[in-house]
Symmetry: C2
Subunit: 524 residues, 2 copies
Amino acid sequence: MTQVAREVELARNAAGRLVPVQANGRHQRLYAGVGQYQPTGSKAAPPVRSSRDYPASGDKRVPNIETALRLSGLRDGMVISSHHHLRDGDAVALATLQTAAQMGVKDLIWFPSASFPSQAPVIDLMDSGIVHHIEGSMNGPLGDYCSRGKMRGYGVLRSHGGRWQAVQDGEVHIDIAVIAAPTADPFGNATGSVGRSACGSLGFALADSIYADHVIVVTDNLVPFPCIPWQIQGNNVDYVVEVPSIGDPAKIVSGTTQITRSPDRLKIAEYVARFVRDAGIMRDGFSFQAGSGGIALAFVDHLRIMMKDAHVKARFVRGGSTRYLVELLQEGLTDYILDGQTFDLEAVRSIATNSRHVATSPFTSYNYHGKGNFASMVDVAVLGATEVDSEFNGNVVTHSDGRLLHGIGGWQNCLAAGCTILAVPSFRDRIPVIVDKVTTLTGPGELIDVIVTERGIAVNPRRKDLLEATKVSKLPIRPIQDIQREVFQICGGAPQKPQLTDNPVAIVKWVDGTVIDTVWQVRS
Amino acid sequence: MTQVAREVELARNAAGRLVPVQANGRHQRLYAGVGQYQPTGSKAAPPVRSSRDYPASGDKRVPNIETALRLSGLRDGMVISSHHHLRDGDAVALATLQTAAQMGVKDLIWFPSASFPSQAPVIDLMDSGIVHHIEGSMNGPLGDYCSRGKMRGYGVLRSHGGRWQAVQDGEVHIDIAVIAAPTADPFGNATGSVGRSACGSLGFALADSIYADHVIVVTDNLVPFPCIPWQIQGNNVDYVVEVPSIGDPAKIVSGTTQITRSPDRLKIAEYVARFVRDAGIMRDGFSFQAGSGGIALAFVDHLRIMMKDAHVKARFVRGGSTRYLVELLQEGLTDYILDGQTFDLEAVRSIATNSRHVATSPFTSYNYHGKGNFASMVDVAVLGATEVDSEFNGNVVTHSDGRLLHGIGGWQNCLAAGCTILAVPSFRDRIPVIVDKVTTLTGPGELIDVIVTERGIAVNPRRKDLLEATKVSKLPIRPIQDIQREVFQICGGAPQKPQLTDNPVAIVKWVDGTVIDTVWQVRS
C-alpha cells in the first residue's frame, strides 16, 4: 500500500496551529479558544422504530455476528462503532470487522471509543480496502500506521466527552454499533459489572446505543430477562448475539494494579499529594480524579494517608477505578466513586456489589455540549502527558518523535477541574518532557494549573490563588522555565524536533468539536 | 365561560369510530388497527447546549419557580409539562401554573403525565385564559370540565407509553418541563426514592427531562452533589429550585394499600388467580403485572399462596408496586420488581433499599415506538375497566354517563401482555359493566383475552389456547353473552346510552399515536 498524499487547505486556529479545514469529507470548525465556540442546532435524531417490527417475546437473538450485520443492512462505506471497556482483551470489534470483510464490503469507517495493540490486524483490513480509516483513539501500532501516512482517511482524535459530543451533535453518524457485553439478556439489556468477562462500566457504549441506526449486543453471558442492572437498554438494541467468548479476561482487567516503583515517580506522586493538601484543596467534601497509571496510584495512596491524618473525607472520587479508590470507599474516606471505567478486579467486584460505586458515562461526566457535566465539579484532577511546554500546554497523543501512539481518553475533559495537575517525569529516555512547544497541542495551557516533576513543581502564573495558597508550603515550587533549563542541562539541551512532513494524517478535536491541532505524517 | 363549539371534520377509523382529523392544530392519524401503523422519520431532536452556558461549579440553583420560568423564557402559548408521581399530593404543578399566571402569560398548554382532583384550581386558569387546554390524563373534576365542553383545546388522552411516544416522535414539543423531585442535588440529578416526599420511581418525568427545551427541577430535599441514585440526570437540567415542600406526603403515597373487602370483588380476585394457575401461566420464571386497585391486590395475595403451594417463582413482577409485591420479593417468590410507580410506604422503602426493586420508565416499559418494550414480555396483566363490551373491547376513560373521569395510565400498553385479563364487577351502582358497545374505545378487543366477573369468566374466542388449557378447570368459564344477559336481567335491561352531543372534546390516542376514539361533550 502506498502512502496517501493529500492536497488540503490549511488554516491557522486560535491556538496558532495549522489545521485542515476539511477532513473525511466534512467541513471542520477551527478551535476558537476555551469556551468560545457556541454550538447551534439540534441533537442527532435516530430513526423512529416500532415494536411491531421486534419480537413480542423480547427475544432478539440471532445466530451470529454475520446474521446481525446482514440484518442491520451492512454495506460499503458504513460507520461501525465499538467500545473499549474490554481494552486490549476485546475480541468483538476485530471479529466484527473481519466478519464484515468476509461478507465482501469495503470502505468501512471504524469508530471505536479506542483501539488497542491486539487490534493491529485491522491494518490488514485497511491495506486491503475493507476499512477506509479509523475515527477514534489509536493506541500503539494502529496509531503508528496512521502516523506513517498509510490510512486513507484522517484519524480523528476525540476525548471521551468529545466522542459523545460528536455522536450527539450528528458529526458522526453510526450505522451499526456493536457492543461487547459481559452480561446481557435476550432483549439486549446489558451490563459490564458481572460475567466472566466483567469489565465494570459500559459507559463508552452508551452514546452508540442511543444514536446508532442499528445496535448489536454481543455477549458471552446471556441471562434471562431482565439483566439487572442494565447500563445499555434493550429498548435501543436490535439484535443479540451469543458467542463463546467476548475477550481475554486477563487482558480485560488487571489482576491487580501496581503503584510505580520508580523512586523519581514516587517522589512526583508525593509532591502531588502534598500540593493538594498544602493548597487547601484536600478539605472535607472535596473531590478528585486520578488515572490508573503508576504515579496516579501512588498519589492516591499518599493522599489516603493524609486524609486519614487530617480526618478529611471526600464527597466523591472519579474513576477510572482501581483497588486504591475502592479502599478509600471501603474505609469511609469517600462517599462515592463515580466511575467511567473499571481497571482491576477489585474495582470490578466493587462496582458490582457496592451501591456507592456508581457507573457513569461520557454523557454525565464529560460531554461539553450538555447542560454542564461532572468534570468541572471535580476539585482536582491528576493527569499525565507525553509533553508539556513552558506555556503549560499539554500533549498526550504524540511522542517526542511525532508518532501518534495514544488516545486522548478523558484527559481533555478533566482539564475542566478546579485544579488540573500534570504529574510527569522531567525526562523520559533522556528526552526532556518540558519542551518549548508541544508537538501536538491536546490541551491549552490556560486550563493546566500545575506541572509536577521530580525536580520541582511549576504553578501556572494565571493561578495566583494557588501560588498564594502554597506560599508557605515546603514544596519545591519553581518557575517552569527553571525546571526546563535544569532538565535541558542534564539531557544535553532541548530535545530534537520530530521529523515531520507537511502531510496531515489526523486531526485532534477539542471538547467542543473544533479542531485544535493536526498530527503530521512522520518522515520515514 | 361559554362552551366551545367546534366545526370539525370527522373520519371513521379502522375501529369504526368517528374521530377528528385535526386536533389542537395538528393533523391526526387515524387508528389503523393493532400493529398496522408504520412510523417514519426521526425522533425529536432537542437543542444542542454547551457547558459554557452553565455554571462550572454545577450549582444551578435559582431562588424560586418564577425566576426559573423567566430564565426559561416563559411566554404565551408555551407547553409546560409536569409528572404525577406525587399523585393527588403534588404541589409543584399547580404552583408552577399559578406562578405563570402571576407573570402575565396566557394560552399555556399544560402537559401533565396525569392530573388529579387537587389540581382542580387549573379550571380557574382555563376560565381566565391562562391555560388554553390540558393535554394529558384528567382524573375527576378536570375531566368533567373537559366533558362539559368548556376547554378551549382538545383533551388528548395518551397511555404512559403513548406520552413517551408523542414526546419522542415530536408530536408534543415541551417548552418547559417542571419536575417535582423528592431529592435532588444542585446540578439537577434527582431521585424519587428518598426524601420526606419520597414517591419511588420518577420515570414519568424522564422523557420530559430528555426532550424539553428547558428543564426545571423543584425539590424540598437538596443534597450535595452527587444525588445517588439519579433517575433524572442533571446533564439535562437547566435550573434547580428549592422549596419548603413539593407536596403532601400523606397524599403522595398511601400509608398502606388495602385489599378490597367486597365479597364480590374478592371472588373476582380469586377467579383471576385460579385462572392464571389453571391456564398454566403460573409456572416457574413467569411474570405478571397487576395494578394497585383493591381487586388487583387481592389477586396478588391469592396468587402468592398458590405460588408457594406449587413452589413456583416468578422471574419478575411489574409495579405499580405495593406492599403485596414487596412481600413477594422479600419471600423470594420473584427475582425482581420492575417498577413504574410506587404506591405505598412499603414499596417506597423497598425501592430505596432493595437492588432487586428496580425503577423503570415508560421508555423501558411501554414506548411502542422503541425497539420493543417490556410490556409484551409480561405473561399476564390484570387490569380494570369502566366498561367492556361483548367484542371484548375495553373503556377506561369515560363512565357510563359519558363523562371523562379517568386517564389511561399504562392500561393500553399492558394489553401487549401474553394474556390480558380485565377483572371487573359485572355491574356498578346497578349499571351493567358488560355493554353492547363501549362508550369510548380505549383498547381493542383483539388484545383483551379474558374478562373475569363475579358471575363468571369470559375467554375471548380468539384465544383457543386459553380455552383449551382451561377446559378441565372448575372455573365458571362462560360465553360473554351469557354473563351479559344475566346481568341485564338483574339490572333491568341494558344500561341507558349516555347523553352525548356531537361536539368532540377529547381524543383518545392508541399506543402508536393514532386516534382510536373521541370523547364527546355530555349533554347538560
